[in-house]
């Protein structure tokens, strides 16, 4: 009996003990190989001799993608994969710049409402069928067709009649999309929409293979079924295990696409994702946990990458309830007494930029509004805050009691705690923290009955400040602040029709100024993306949209020298 118990134990140990350092599970820590120096050819492509033999990328991808139907997908994990699988009329470079995609060129009418696209002539689907303008027309129509049930279609509302079609009031043929000839199509918009070309590079505007969709119905996006037109094709999809793409030999740029295979792995747990990266199973993580930042900075300096992102984190006021209704002084006092420097340096610690306005910098050249107090020292701000606080009728004897509400997350909690203690210190405010499950929180925000101060944030869908400003419009579905200002709304209306870029930017700047002067939000910081990337993986660039098509990536081989150094 005991002999047997021993053998079971030994067996377990043997299970874990087999294999030595060299194995299938990646490179163990401490033996990290260094890549060779990158050498570029004259045309900007990497020299073949520096490339690794195996051009396979393993990318951590966050949550399991909800779908690979380009017209239904909304989440970042799904759209990231779809950008590898498909190509829109326009596309994005590694740096996030807009470049021609399936359309070789386009014309925009004088009123900036009509776009005419001229497609490349040699395009084919991954199954070899020719890809023509009617495929794009069909794609856009399908995305907006109420039958398709797409939530993502909301971003296509600038297209003429899209709203009516979605509401079932007009047939899908009435959309402002027309086929001029086999290679030419025209899209008419309700108003000038400068970011529209950028929208066309997103999955909701991708074409789908009509014959395939009609034959297979909701099964068309499964591996083996999905026909795409991008740099890669879908070969495997095991839910919550991996999604495998392989190079599409029929893609127009197949010759310059170096990566042969991309493996997207869902990584729900950030700490687990980092461990997988450290064990060599991933080349690219979706994120890194905040609490490991310092350690990673010290131990993985070459791998840790942070970069500004087109998102803002702020706290919102509920302007429809006490104590903030008609009380700009109090709101301003609370805005001023938050020390953003401390929050980004001591609390979030990821190189987030302290923020004093709504729109993050770096979005399509827009320079955000900056209030006067942005240049003050924190002491000055606190001083002014105390003055306003007292002006609003509060004092040490009669302190403000307020709730900070946030959806359950470590980061939200830390920030709320920091803000509460800053208010306490500067003004003597008694703030309590309330955390709620995400959807409960959203509902409370929307109902505007119990909220006072609440955490908010916005990561834009498209590269345009309008995406941030829009939700403060009177009656907007996400206007959880109860903000309503006719001047602001009028400015936004003007933005919608203004087709001169510089004028439009000035209008948006003015709108942002109005909004900030009304003290609706407490800006905290603008987001950064943060991830670990295998130093062998090159061909990608940081950009505010955090779009990183695999198409431009490649893998360097390991340096001989570094292995010689290891074993002198």
């Amino acid at each position: 009996m005991f002999a047997r118990s021993c053998s079971v134990l030994c067996c377990v140990m043997a299970l874990s003990a087999c294999g030595d350092g060299q194995n299938d599970f990646g490179r163990p820590q401490g033996k990290r190989a260094q890549p060779v120096q990158l050498v570029l050819l004259e045309d900007g492509r990497p020299a073949p001799e520096v490339l690794a033999e195996e051009q396979v990328v393993y990318r951590g991808n966050g949550e399991e993608p909800e779908t690979l139907d380009p017209h239904l997908a909304q989440g970042v994990p799904a759209t990231r994969i779809l950008r590898d699988l498909f190509e829109g009329l326009t596309a994005e470079s590694a740096a996030g710049d807009l470049v021609p995609g399936a359309a070789l060129r386009w014309n925009i009418s004088r009123d900036a409402r009509t776009y005419t696209f001229y497609l490349r002539r040699d395009l084919v689907w991954s199954n070899g069928d020719p890809l023509r303008a009617d495929d794009f027309v069909y794609g856009l129509q399908r995305a907006i067709d109420p039958e398709t049930n797409s939530s993502a279609a909301r971003t296509l509302l600038p297209i003429l009649n899209a709203r009516e079609v979605l509401a079932g009031e007009l047939p899908v043929e009435e959309l402002g999309i027309s086929l001029l000839d086999e290679f030419t199509m025209q899209i008419t918009l309700t108003g000038p929409t400068p970011y529209f070309l950028g929208l066309l590079a997103s999955p909701v505007a991708f074409p789908v293979h009509k014959g395939n969709v009609e034959a297979l119905g909701d099964q068309f996006s499964k591996p083996g079924n999905l026909i795409s037109n991008g740099a890669f094709v879908l070969t495997e999809w095991t839910p919550r295990v991996s999604i495998v793409l392989e190079k599409n030999p029929r893609y127009r740029q197949a010759e310059t696409t170096l990566i042969e295979r991309v493996v997207y792995t869902p990584t729900e747990d950030r700490a687990a994702e980092v461990k997988q990266f450290r064990s060599g199973a991933l080349d690219w993580t979706n994120e890194v946990p905040n609490n490991q930042f310092k350690w990673l900075q010290a131990n993985y300096p070459d791998e840790l990458v942070t970069s500004p992102w087109m998102g803002s984190y702020f706290l919102g006021f509920n302007l429809t309830q006490e104590p903030f209704i008609d009380n700009p002084s109090l709101r301003m006092a609370l805005i001023l007494s938050v020390d953003r420097q401390i929050i980004t340096e001591k609390v979030t610690q990821f190189g987030e930029k302290p923020s004093f306005a709504l729109v993050p910098p770096g979005i399509d050249g827009y320079v955000p509004f900056s209030p006067e107090y942005a240049d003050w020292a924190q002491e000055e701000r606190d001083h002014e805050a105390r003055r306003l606080y007292e002006q609003a009728g509060y004092s040490e004897e009669n302190p403000l009691r307020v709730e900070i509400r946030y959806n359950t997350s470590d980061n939200n909690k830390k920030i709320a705690l920091a803000v509460a203690s800053m208010w306490k210190q500067a003004l003597g405010v008694n703030a309590t923290l309330v955390n709620e499950e995400f959807r409960v929180f959203l509902q409370n925000r929307e109902q505007k009955l119990v909220t006072q101060v609440f955490s908010a944030g916005w990561i834009s869908d498209y590269n345009d400040p309008y995406s941030f400003l829009e939700m403060f419009r009177t009656g907007h579905g996400r206007n959880d602040y109860g903000y309503s200002n006719e001047t602001f709304d009028a400015l936004l209306d003007e933005v919608g029709t203004e087709r001169v870029r510089a004028r439009r930017e000035r209008l948006m700047f003015e709108a942002e100024r109005v909004l900030m002067s009304d003290h609706v939000i407490i800006p905290i910081f603008t987001y950064v993306t943060k991830r670990l990337v295998n130093p062998h993986l090159k061909g990608w660039q940081n950009n505010v949209m955090d779009h990183h098509p695999t198409q431009t990536m490649f893998k360097l081989k390991s340096s001989e020298m570094s292995s010689a150094e290891k074993n002198p």
Partner: protein
């Protein structure tokens, strides 16, 4: 006679399952609907046209009671419907993919825990109050009290990140990827079974029939294995019903840490996303699994314990 009793017993139990499940379905259905928010509520609000369209297509615009009966009518055919969240998959597909993974991990963990736990418990009982006993049971207590979200990362760091023996996570049905999750899942159960076994084994070893067996001149090994083991593991068998159900329905923590595509995470994700069909499908499936497992344990218990077998036949 005894066979017939067992079959009749099984039939009664399975019939008794139907009202239980109906109650379960009803409670689950209305509970998830009471929860604030719906499957289409997100930070980025939908334009009303789109929202109305979605609600109509998913029948969310109907009165709740009508939706309830629609759902009942649907699941009678064994169809749990499409997932709201994972739009390319039906709930049946997701369960069919998730459950085998959870069941494999959980089943192996239970098997490992049973073998190790009973052996350790027996060993400790035989060396009762010795240093070995105290150290083995001390380690077992640690096994119970250290949560697996602490154990798992340590195991990953040791075996995957530093040694590189095993993968840090992921799933492909290879034994290498099963080792860590199975061990992590089994540890607290090993400890618990060891404690149960030790206690009951000590009690059994003091019983008169063990003295009889020893007086027969049987070797101690045979006394333990043949005479003491079966009665000593009876409490373990009773514990195994609910424990196995808990293990094979998937541990969310284990699934996240080891990136395993089991059933547990679907349940949690489904609840967080208000994925009504997924949550209900998983709940009903869990219900069936738990009832079936308890039934199997009852049979096993009867098989081990002749007195119960006798009563059944009466």
């Amino acid at each position: 006679m005894k066979q017939a009793g067992v079959f009749r017993h099984a039939a009664v139990r399975l019939l008794g399952l139907i009202p239980t499940l109906l109650v379960l379905i009803t409670i689950a259905f209305f509970l998830i609907r009471i929860a604030p928010g719906g499957p289409f509520d997100a930070e980025k609000v939908l334009p009303p046209e789109i929202r109305a369209n979605l609600d109509a297509n998913y029948h969310l615009d109907e009165p709740l009671l009508q939706q309830y009966f629609r759902y009942l009518g649907q699941i009678v055919t064994g169809d749990f419907g499409p997932s709201f969240q994972y739009k390319d998959w039906t709930v049946n597909e997701l369960i069919a993919r998730g459950f085998p993974v959870s069941a494999t991990i959980g089943g192996l963990a239970m098997a490992l825990a049973f073998v190790l736990g009973t052996l350790i418990g027996t060993f400790a009982a035989l060396k009762q109050n010795s240093v070995i006993d105290y150290s083995v049971m001390g380690v077992a207590m640690l096994g119970i009290s250290i949560p697996n979200f602490v154990v798992a990362p340590l195991l990953i760091l040791g075996t995957a990140v530093y040694a590189g023996w095993l993968p840090a996570g992921g799933w492909d049905w290879s034994w290498q990827r099963m080792v860590l999750p199975v061990v992590t899942l089994a540890l607290p159960v090993v400890a618990y079974i060891a404690r149960l076994t030790r206690g009951s084994m000590i009690e059994v070893l003091h019983s008169n029939y063990i003295r009889t067996a020893r007086a027969k001149g049987l070797p101690e090994r045979q006394v333990i294995r043949r005479h003491a083991f079966k009665p000593a593991i009876l409490p373990v068998i009773s514990y195994m019903g609910p424990a196995t159900a808990a293990l094979i329905t998937g541990s969310v923590v284990i699934e996240r840490i080891y990136s395993i595509p089991g059933l547990g995470s679907y349940f949690v994700q489904g609840a967080l996303n208000r994925d009504y069909t997924l949550v209900l499908g998983v709940v009903i499936f869990y219900g069936i699994v738990i009832v079936v497992l308890n039934f199997i344990v009852d049979l096993l218990y009867a098989w081990l314990n002749p007195r119960i077998r006798y009563d059944e036949a009466q």
